[in-house]
């Protein structure tokens, strides 16, 4: 970016100074803990640690390139990208931030933002958002608010990652079944039955987070249910809709469309190897090299329930407020985020959908990445993660329930009821810890 003029430098210094004093009083579980300036960084050379969970697909190639480009254009900022597993980030980052060893900027999933904000780990990003000129309309519905906690903006949406239906066309052809992609319960059932007659187990269900849990949630919403009540004080995923949703998955096994005991990533591997035909998976798999030699297509999820719905997550920028956080580094980080947003057209290459509406709705995007179109089409009815502090612990119970039902240990109703009971206790504890 350009160096600022002298007058702007004074303005920036003032803002940075304010940022320093505000950042200096970060503490406690309250929501206000310093903020990030929206202006360009012009201070001494700093290193910005950037934690992200982009370890798969094309991201490990693209991210370093983007970072390199940014570093080349900015003499006084060196961004260091630190990729690690998403699960590792959520396990380590909070304590790292408290100890002052966390990153200066990171990306997190939507359901983590409220938790981190409530734990006093984040800086208010309102100024950056203003600097970028963003408002809620610039993003898919609900996403902007999902990045707020108690009225303060903490996260800046970066990408959205819905689920979709992956289809192995070779398998359909070889089995001699209709190759039209199913769009509702009836056509889906027909296709699976035909596949079974031809000796193919069409869709493998499992009890793991990235596939089984998200499939369950999509179905839950399709049957008109919801994960939690409005105040997030009670789990509602064990409603009739939930039971129907989980029962549908268990039925796949009972009807012989899916084997039992599918291991983690087993269903995706099977799609690649041509052992099944359908896989409910996230948009990020569109760039998985394993699919390169496979004749596959993607489609919106079939509507099994009474309404259209699909699970989606969002990845959002957050600015940690480390113990002893340097305002310079945060400022430089803000510049990096702005730059990334301006240069995000190529991000679709990683298989994530840019969150900013104008970038995403640009026709050129779909031209270059036609596989993303079915996912884009689903966004109007996509459900994002619940926003509440500590919600991920409650969500973990859902995965346990899905696993237990899929493995035949409990009936869907039992599994969901048990999980809901446990989740309710967690929600209660969260309310106590974070003050609701």
């Amino acid at each position: 970016m350009n160096r600022s003029l002298v007058t702007r430098a004074v303005a920036v210094a003032t803002v940075v100074g304010l940022g320093v004093s505000l950042a200096g009083c970060s503490s406690g579980a309250s929501s206000t803990s310093g903020s990030v300036s929206g202006a360009d960084y012009t201070g001494p050379k700093v290193t910005v640690d950037f934690w992200n969970g982009w370890t798969g697909g094309a991201a490990p190639t693209i991210v370093p390139e983007l970072v390199k480009q940014f570093n080349a254009e900015h003499d006084n900022i060196v961004v260091k990208s630190v990729p690690m597993e998403w699960a590792d980030i959520s396990a380590k980052m909070p304590l790292a931030i408290k100890a002052g060893k966390g990153p200066d900027v990171a990306v997190a999933h939507g359901d983590d933002v409220a938790t981190y904000a409530a734990q006093g780990l984040l800086l208010d990003s309102g100024d950056i958002v203003d600097g970028l000129g963003y408002s809620a309309d610039d993003f898919p519905e609900g996403l902007f608010e999902g990045n707020q906690y108690q009225g303060t903006q903490y996260g800046i949406p970066w990408s959205v990652t819905p689920l979709g239906l992956y289809v192995n066309n070779d398998v359909l052809k070889a089995a001699g079944v209709d190759t039209t992609v199913p769009t509702d319960a009836e056509s889906y059932e027909k296709s699976l039955a035909a596949l079974k007659a031809a000796g193919v187990q069409g869709e493998w269900v499992d009890g793991y987070v990235f596939t089984g849990t998200f499939e369950f949630q999509s179905l839950l919403w399709q049957f008109g249910g919801d994960l939690y009540d409005e105040d997030v004080t009670e789990a509602t995923f064990n409603s009739d809709a939930g039971v129907q949703a989980l029962q549908h998955m268990v039925d796949q096994i009972d009807k012989g469309y899916s084997p039992e005991n599918v291991p983690q990533d087993g269903n995706f591997n099977a799609l690649v190897k041509g052992e099944n035909a359908y896989n409910w998976n996230g948009v990020w798999q569109t760039t998985n090299e394993a699919l390169q030699d496979v004749d596959f297509s993607v489609a919106p999820l079939p509507q099994i329930g009474t309404e259209k719905a699909v699970w989606s997550s969002s990845t959002d920028w957050i600015f940690p407020s480390n113990k002893g956080q340097s305002a310079d580094e945060t400022s430089a980080a803000a510049t990096f985020v702005k730059w990334m947003n301006d240069n995000s057209a190529g991000w679709a290459e990683t298989g994530e959908l840019p969150a900013a509406n104008d970038v995403r709705e640009d026709p050129a995007l779909v031209e270059e990445y036609p596989n993303l179109k079915p996912f884009l089409d689903q966004l109007p009815y996509a459900h994002y993660e619940t926003v509440a502090p500590g919600i991920t612990a409650a969500n973990a119970e859902i995965t346990t329930a899905v696993g237990e039902a899929v493995l035949g240990k409990k009936t869907p109703k039992e599994a969901l009821d048990d999980a809901a009971a446990q989740a309710d206790k967690i929600l209660e504890q969260n309310a106590q810890t974070y003050g609701g």
Binding site: T55, G56, P60, P64, V82, P83, M84, E85, A87, D88, A91, K92, L95, A96, K98, A99, G100, K101, Q264, D265, F268, N269, V272, K273, N288, E289, A290, D293
Partner: protein
């Protein structure tokens, strides 16, 4: 812990065996009942049980991801590719760095243990001082305490020292354990005291006696302790997983876990990582095998 002492023979020893060959290796008379071939077969089976999985892993590291998951599984990689190794060398996951980190941490912790434990053990074994019983009792009483007790408080202590994500976090707390000092104390106690006492009469200071007499005599025990300490640090998994944060500061064990998660469906790459983590260690082990295993054996027998 008790020592095995030769004095524990039964009181009445019958006349010495009259058979000609009794020197050298101890023999088990009843082994002649079982055909030697059967024993060799048993040994061979167990050896294969260990070597074959490792061999399979090496072969897998040269397969493409598709090949690695396909059935029927063939031992021969088809196509044969070094892509996995190339990906690993490209730096996204700094596996060589992890290896060096593990080496450095192992060496550092071993050094700390050897120095602190030998000094302390000398005091416990050879010096009289007020509070000796209490100190020794305290140390011994912690021998059987499970490490999980210390997990959380040590995390907080390490954090407040600013040691998170540094080599100190994975070496210093682990060096505080009682095993080393206890082990060496037992050993020093078994050393004949005459040389030391003679030197003391000659006016040598304790430090001189320690450095010039006790230490040279203790080389086998020190070697044993060094091997055990290094192996223990090398194998450490739980603690580094939580106190090491940046990818380039990881040691090999948590690093491999991260690799496995980052490349979960790319088995070729994960196995290549396992190979890189294993081959140097196995080579070193093969070279020093006798000493290493003898050391470990001695620890249990003397323990």
């Amino acid at each position: 812990m008790t020592q095995l002492a030769p004095e524990r023979l039964p009181a009445a020893v019958p006349q010495p065996p009259t058979r000609a060959s009794t020197g050298g290796r101890r023999r088990r008379p009843w082994h002649r009942r079982v055909p030697t071939v059967a024993l060799y077969v048993a040994l061979a089976i167990m050896t294969l049980a260990i070597l074959l999985p490792l061999l399979w892993i090496v072969l897998t590291s040269f397969k493409t991801d598709f090949d690695a998951i396909s059935r029927p599984a063939s031992p021969i990689p088809d196509p044969f590719t070094v892509d996995a190794y190339q990906t690993l060398s490209s730096g996204q996951q700094p596996i060589f760095r992890w290896f060096l980190n593990s080496l450095a941490a192992g060496a550092l912790q071993t050094a700390i243990i050897l120095v602190t434990a030998s000094l302390g053990a000398y005091a416990l074994a050879r010096l009289e001082f007020r509070g000796k019983k209490i100190v020794f009792g305290m140390i011994v009483s912690t021998l059987l305490v499970p490490p999980v007790i210390f997990l959380i408080p040590n995390y907080l202590i390490v954090e407040s020292l600013g040691w998170l994500d540094t080599i100190w976090a994975i070496t210093v707390p682990g060096a505080a354990g009682a095993f080393g000092i206890f082990f060496l104390r037992q050993f020093f106690v078994g050393l004949p005291a005459e040389i030391e006492e003679a030197a003391r009469l000659d006016g040598a200071s304790d430090l001189r006696i320690f450095l010039q007499i006790v230490i040279p005599l203790s080389r086998p025990a020190l070697a044993t302790l060094a091997v055990l300490s290094f192996l223990s640090n090398w194998n450490d998994f739980l603690w580094p997983v939580y106190v090491l944060l940046s990818p380039e500061n990881l040691t090999l064990q948590p690093g491999l876990s991260v690799l496995s998660g980052a490349y979960s469906t790319h088995f070729g790459i994960v196995m290549a990582g396992a190979v890189i983590a294993s081959v140097p260690v196995l080579v070193l082990f093969t070279l020093a095998q006798r000493q290493i295993v003898d050391s470990v054996a001695a620890s249990g027998v003397k323990g």
